[in-house]
């Protein structure tokens, strides 16, 4: 099962390596990882989506993260009210004459065409991962040439 964890870390060099090293050394799988600065330049915010077969492994992941000296706090969103989003950029095969069709397909989603040149439309979408999944299915009918995703970011109430 996938779990979303956020980690506040010291904004120092090598911290990302400590986090990723912890996962690889103990055989845990990272589904996605997003890192950015916070309002405090000394602190970075990581949203990590992990694959954990059971509760025990999830517990270990959290405890091991907490053990790192540069980790300030660890929050597990599993049973927490939270909002999560992912940003997607997709290059879709679509001749200009079919633009209207594409727009119809996008209507159900928080998505828009940000550039359309020749036979390629670049689409930007921001949504929950379930919705993104639906969008990608809809786009596959046109043909997705390239897909870039940020991975999930999340914030708790």
């Amino acid at each position: 099962m996938r779990h979303t964890i956020s980690v506040l870390v010291e904004n120092k060099f090598g911290v990302l390596a400590r986090i990723s090293g912890l996962f690889s050394a103990r055989g845990y799988n990272i589904a996605s990882l997003a890192v950015s600065e916070t309002m405090d330049p000394g602190i970075s915010y990581m949203t990590i989506v992990v694959e954990a077969q059971d509760e025990k492994i999830l517990e270990q992941i959290k405890k091991q993260l907490n053990k790192l000296i540069d980790v300030i706090t660890v929050t597990d969103f599993t049973n927490k009210e939270h909002v999560d989003r992912e940003l997607v950029l997709a290059k879709v095969a679509c001749p200009l004459k079919d633009k209207a069709k594409l727009e119809v397909a996008l209507k159900k989603y928080v998505a828009k065409i940000i550039q359309h040149k020749g036979d390629i439309a670049i689409i930007e979408a921001v949504d929950e991962q379930e919705k993104i999944k639906g969008l990608l299915e809809a786009l596959s009918k046109f043909g997705v040439k390239e897909l870039v995703r940020t991975g999930r970011i999340a914030v708790a109430y």
Binding site: G14, R18, K56, I69
Partner: protein
């Protein structure tokens, strides 16, 4: 002040009296300042020896051991020793030189990404980018190394930083927002634990290295006597409770005593303190202590419920929590029947060996025990020598048994003995070695003689890598694959270094040889030619339940 001087000033303020290490190109400024320093420096013959010596010093004294090496190969040679300390939660500081800051990442001569290499085997590490950061970093490093669950911390210092001028400002206190070790156990959890203990019929204290680290020896003893519960130790816990005490069951696990393992399997309440349910202790996990509830006290939350399901987890310092236990326990469990049962196991299945034919290793260790009256510091290498040293010497005090537990590092015992002797000059320090492992850091004979470190090495010489041979005998149809090992003439070798060597081939020579070794004011190798195919028993085969011992309960 330049960086190198700042570093030494910091070390002095942290109370460092001795360092173990080896010079090189990228630590020249530090060595130049060491020349005038009153910190004692022990020049080893290989950097791995420096790391193990600092580790042994730390284990013997409880202080933070410090080792120092140059960049690149100097640092990578330290790594095995750092990993050894990490697995056994030993406070240690490793200082390494690094190439100049502007050369980092340039594949410069003797460059290695040392903070990268040591990241998984240190509690924390630092690359120092400016001399003015040194005091803060050194203070943090010592604090991190010695608090909570201790461990090694590495400080990598580029040589230009060692030369850089900066003002020395000693930070008044250390405040790390991401690091707040828990000391006091949760009061609610302690109450629940007390109730379980009061109601138990077959309680068992299962203790590990955490008892020794936290200084809980005395309070553990009082608590065990108060609740009248038997105590079994992990290898790291030996000496955490008196081995000669009537409540002691000795070591449990793969080569534990039959009665300790049976007590574990029959117990209805396991009180684990400062131990981590390692696979060498539990045997087959799903068969471990089937009828027991488990209370687990550990300072490291990640050790709890990692391997074994725990009923009452208590995160906290072993000593602090046991003091609470001792104060709060009112209803004492009735363990009379339980202790009777255990006594019958002890009588029926004591540790034993057949004392016939060639010299038996067990006999040698018994003689060491008698001659030192249990007052020596024993270090070991890894393998059969180590297990026999666990079984046949009784450790009554903490910090008297020093061995590589978690990592199982061959070549550990000899340099660790040097460190222990430097830390405890009034103690007799003996490395119980095998002919295989002693050859892994034998170059430290040079250090011992040059620095007048008087340690004794007793080599249980069977011409084999004995533990591997034992496994090949038992589980690989006696197909002895590359376990024969030749040795130099240890007597001549010792003599060529300026130490003393004694060769022993007959049983009646054992005691006089040991007596002579102990009376000699020099490093002595006692080369005991023992029974070649003697096995360590009892033995729980890997992956079996604890009560499925070979040569276990009669």
């Amino acid at each position: 002040m330049i960086g190198a001087q700042i570093l030494l000033e910091c070390l002095k303020r942290e109370g460092v009296e001795v360092m173990f290490g080896y010079p090189g190109g990228q630590v020249l400024p530090i060595f130049d300042k060491l020349y005038d320093s009153d910190i004692r420096f022990i020049l080893v013959r290989h950097e791995q020896g420096a790391a193990h010596a600092a580790d042994g010093y730390s284990r013997a004294t409880g202080k933070v051991g410090v080792c120092l090496a140059t960049s690149g190969p100097g640092a990578t040679n330290l790594t095995t020793g750092i990993a050894t300390a990490y697995m056994d939660s030993i406070p240690m500081i490793a200082i390494t030189g690094q190439v100049k800051t502007f050369l980092i990442g340039n594949d410069a001569f003797q460059e290695a990404d040392v903070t990268g290499i040591t990241r998984p085997v240190t509690k924390h590490n630092y690359l120092v980018k400016s001399a003015k950061d040194l005091p803060q970093i050194v203070r943090e490093a010592f604090y991190i190394a010695s608090s909570g669950r201790p461990g090694p911390v590495l400080i990598d210092i580029p040589s230009d930083v060692q030369l850089q001028e900066a003002e020395f400002i000693w930070p008044q206190n250390v405040e790390i927002r991401g690091y707040k070790p828990t000391c006091f156990g949760h009061p609610g959890q302690i109450k629940k634990a007390i109730k379980l203990i009061s109601d138990a019929k077959k309680p068992l204290l299962y203790i590990g290295g955490g008892i020794i680290t936290s200084g809980a020896y005395q309070v553990l003893r009082e608590f065990a006597e108060k609740i009248n519960a038997p105590v079994t130790m992990t290898m790291m816990g030996l000496g955490g409770f008196p081995g000669t005490h009537k409540l002691s069951l000795g070591m449990l696990g793969m080569h534990g005593t039959a009665y300790a393992n049976h007590a574990t399997m029959e117990s209805d309440l396991i009180i684990a303190v400062g131990a981590r349910f390692d696979d060498r202790v539990t045997g087959r996990l799903d068969a471990f202590a089937p009828s027991a509830k488990v209370i687990h006290i550990d300072v490291d939350p990640s050790s709890i419920s990692k391997n074994v399901r725990v009923d009452i987890p208590i995160v906290g310092d072993a000593k602090t929590v046991l003091e609470e236990f001792l104060e709060q326990i009112k209803k004492i469990p009735d363990t009379v029947e339980w202790l009777k049962t255990i006594d019958s196991w002890k009588k029926k299945s004591p540790l034993k060996y057949k004392d016939e034919g060639k010299i038996k290793p067990q006999y040698v260790i018994e003689q060491i025990y008698e001659l030192t009256k249990g007052n020596a510091i024993i270090t070991t290498e890894v393998g059969q020598n180590q297990m026999w040293a666990c079984q046949w010497y009784k450790y009554d005090y903490p910090r008297t048994y020093i061995s590589s537990g978690g990592l199982g590092t061959m070549g550990f015992g000899f340099p660790a003995a040097m460190g222990a002797k430097i830390g405890c000059p009034d103690k007799t320090v003996i490395d119980i070695a095998g002919d295989g492992s002693i050859q892994m850091n034998i170059q430290e004979l040079g250090t011992c003689v040059a620095s007048k470190i008087n340690v004794k090495v007793v080599i249980l010489n069977n011409g084999y890598l004995g533990m591997v041979r034992q496994w090949q005998e038992l589980f690989y149809k006696k197909r002895y694959s590359y376990v024969n090992i030749t040795s130099p003439d240890f007597v001549k070798l010792a003599e060529s270094y300026g130490a003393i060597g004694i060769k022993v081939t007959r049983k009646e020579e054992v005691r006089p040889a040991l007596e002579k070794a102990l009376a000699t004011d020099n490093t002595v190798f006692v080369d005991c030619h023992i029974e070649e195919e003697e096995n360590v028993y009892p033995m729980v085969p890997a992956g079996e339940a604890l009560n499925r011992m070979i040569e276990g309960l009669a």
